[in-house]
Symmetry: C2
Subunit: 467 residues, 2 copies
């Protein structure tokens, strides 16, 4: 028994274009756009008694279909908000006009638009699969709950209190996230971990005003110099993180895990060429993939200060994010960074460090979890002959830690976005064929959930697989 999908992609692309057209940038304050996006995705789960609920920030969309007594209950998580567009000049086509095109290099059909890959496309294909179950079979194979938030791209500041307050309404054996990404297009993968996140702003203030760079030059510390020295001090000359205590708690990387990663086919030259950088760069003594999957990072996301005229600016600032790996505690990392920054502040300026709320530790799910087994089976059916890779999401999904704490449920990532689809950057795109592949995979996944004995830690405990 399989669902019959559309003969071509026209309806799917038209509906996804409607959704992408709503500029639900959570960093902006356009409450109307956020609500319209919430309403749009709510209308697609009309079979699940959808509700648009207040969270204190942008609303969330929840719903449930519990018509499969005895079967497991799965909470499907995703988000309807998107990143800011960045510079409009860099977009080939307008960011909120979903634009089909054929990639010249690969011949792939793609659609370009903000949110196409992160996370509107991947969520759309899940709810469309559910709709087809109900249309064609009158029921879903297992019980489903839905939670689509509107603040993922700003670190989910209100999701925690909402989920904790409404834990009973969200209770599930397993959470499956339609957010995340498979790490590349030619090889099916399941993510078994994601990195944590800690964000901070550094502000360096000098004089009480911008100063003429001649009339005051050489007499006061220049905040841009002080900021540059601070930022340069975060890494050593070879790219190693140089902040004492930053890596506290990280277990040593085992030779076995390194060997596993080294066995994964990864073409560093192709990766370099795709990014068009003169060379890859990072902590020495480790392959690029090992760095990406196992190492924490400190990346400066933006710097600003002064302008292109002849002043000594009185303020310079940087936004910084750290990606954390298992073993690191955000509070400990924050303390280490704060101490480092204070110790490296140039005399003659004032340095302020502000950590953003919503820091999250890294997250992992056991590769032996029954949900992972079912998902692996689904991918093997959709991509016959391909081995399913167990990968790491080097990005951050703050909700995972929350679901474990508040609902006692593990989270599994099952997204059909691919990591190379320019998430967060201008010209974000999504591969058209993955709409259809994703729908088929979700069909098999949901049927697998319906047929299993148990999906929660209970199931794992029964299987003796809890670690």
């Amino acid at each position: 028994m399989t669902l019959a999908f559309e003969p071509d992609d026209r309806r799917y692309l038209a509906e996804l274009a409607e959704y992408v057209a709503i500029p639900s940038v959570s960093r902006d304050a356009d409450a109307d756009a956020m609500r319209r996006a919430a309403e749009w995705i709510a209308s697609r789960i009309d079979f699940a008694d959808p509700q648009i609920v207040e969270t204190g920030g942008h609303p969330a969309v929840v719903g449930s279909w519990l018509g499969a007594p005895g079967a497991p209950t799965v909470l499907i998580y995703g988000h309807y908000d998107v990143q800011p567009t960045g510079s409009l000049d860099e977009w080939i086509t307008p960011p909120f006009d979903l634009t089909p095109y054929v990639d010249e290099a690969t011949g792939e059909e793609r659609v370009r638009g903000r949110g196409a890959a992160d996370d509107k496309g991947p969520v759309y294909l899940v709810v469309e699969t559910c709709r087809q179950f109900l249309a064609q079979e009158g029921a879903l194979p297992c019980n489903l709950r839905f939670l689509f938030e509107g603040e993922e791209e700003i670190g989910s500041p209100n999701l925690g209190s909402y989920v904790r307050t409404h834990a009973a309404d969200l209770s599930a054996d397993l959470v499956v996230s339609a957010d995340g990404a498979q790490w590349r297009t030619d090889e099916p993968s399941l993510s078994i971990a994601s990195k944590g996140l800690l964000a901070l702003d550094i502000t360096v203030t000098g004089a009480n005003r911008d100063l003429h760079s001649g009339r005051y030059g050489g007499t006061v510390a220049n905040p841009t110099h002080a900021l540059a020295a601070l930022l340069a001090s975060l890494h050593d000359e070879e790219g190693r993180i140089a902040v004492d205590g930053f890596g506290d708690g990280i277990p040593a990387l085992t030779p076995q895990r390194l060997a596993e990663i080294d066995a994964v086919a990864f073409d560093e030259e192709a990766y370099r060429a795709d990014l068009d950088v003169p060379a890859l760069h990072g902590e020495p003594g480790m392959s690029t993939l090992a760095r990406l999957w196992t190492q924490p990072t400190i990346e400066v996301n933006g710097i600003a200060g002064g302008g292109a005229y002849s002043v000594i600016p009185h303020v310079a600032s940087a936004h910084v994010t750290c990606r954390l790996v298992p073993g690191q505690r955000p509070e400990t990392v924050a303390r280490a960074l704060d101490a480092h920054i204070r110790a490296h502040a140039m005399p003659g300026v004032r340095v302020e460090v502000r950590f953003e709320d919503g820091a999250v530790p890294a997250y992992t799910i056991d590769p032996g979890h029954p949900g992972i087994q079912i998902a692996r089976d689904a991918l093997e059916q959709v991509y016959p002959g391909e081995e399913v890779l167990l990968a790491v999401i080097a990005g951050t999904l703050p909700a995972t830690v929350l679901f474990e704490e508040a609902l006692g449920a593990k989270t599994m990532f099952f997204s059909f976005a691919v990591a190379d689809e320019w998430h967060h950057a201008p010209n974000e795109f999504f591969r058209v064929r993955r709409l259809r592949e994703g729908m088929r995979a979700w069909e098999i996944l949901l049927r697998g959930f319906g047929a299993t004995e148990g999906l929660g830690d209970r199931g794992l405990a029964a299987a003796g697989a809890v670690r």
Copy 2:
């Protein structure tokens, strides 16, 4: 015989307000505002057959009154363009509304507005003095030419070709600049030197797009890190310039000159408190005033890259200006900087260095020049009992070098702005009483010029004072 000025400042302030109201920001492209400012100041020298002349960039205003046969000819230089406002949020009152106020700390009457001190106020008072000579005495004491340019704040890119092409129409025994600034309000001063200027942009490019800071973090060089490391490398930890060859050609500072500077009353604590910095900062082993007057600088004027969200930005850039001292050649300094930047570029990024046109070396005038003697006398009469200080303009006046080359005339600075009047910054202001003091001083100066034997190098040669 002295000129009678107005009984109060009302007319002066009303006229200056008209001039300040014209937003003649030369870095912007508002040709209409530039032309209106040129027309305004041209209308104030209607006694000198004013012309608005094309230069290839913003127009210049020229004029001449040559009705004093046998007397020296002096070229009065100034500029009608102003710096950009910077952040409007930081202005207490709108930048182009000249706003009178009383400074609470000093009780001084001031006027706030962009260009009030640099250079609209100081030029206004000169032309008003000339108008009063003609109105009250029917003639000026010496021959005058006028040259007010519209591109001083962008490095005078077209002034050179204009002056060289029209050298005959501009010929003069001496140039007196109404631009510049006395270095403080409680002590009359004459500037005998100004620093040179070399400006450059550094652009660091990484990947071909902004990258998700999680999904790509730790695998590529971050352009903001590379830029920070580059900028940090320009100075050592104590604030010394660390660029090999940067200081080539600078003669050793003599103990005599250092002693002269140390004899100047300079309250470092008051200077620090005015700027509200935790400490002054710069090359160690030298007083703040010695640094300001004798040392070259490298100051970063602005940095930009990415924004406050979670990307690895693909471009980061900085605007940098160097102030040069006598002995430094701009070309040599540019080569040294270029080599330093290339040597310190992080692998994995591309670094582009672009030097702006219009670099100028430092400038000096002999303290024994007859023009300096006459100016000193004028200041002693306006500020009786005060010793006139021979100071250095730590800013840059590109026109000085040009006038020496193209007209064979030295340039003397005679401005009634003060260096602390927040030139180039938000809330630029001008002290009201200096309008009147400046007019009286210019009256005495012009009378002195009319009574002297010679003002050019001929005069100096005759006096045996050429060095």
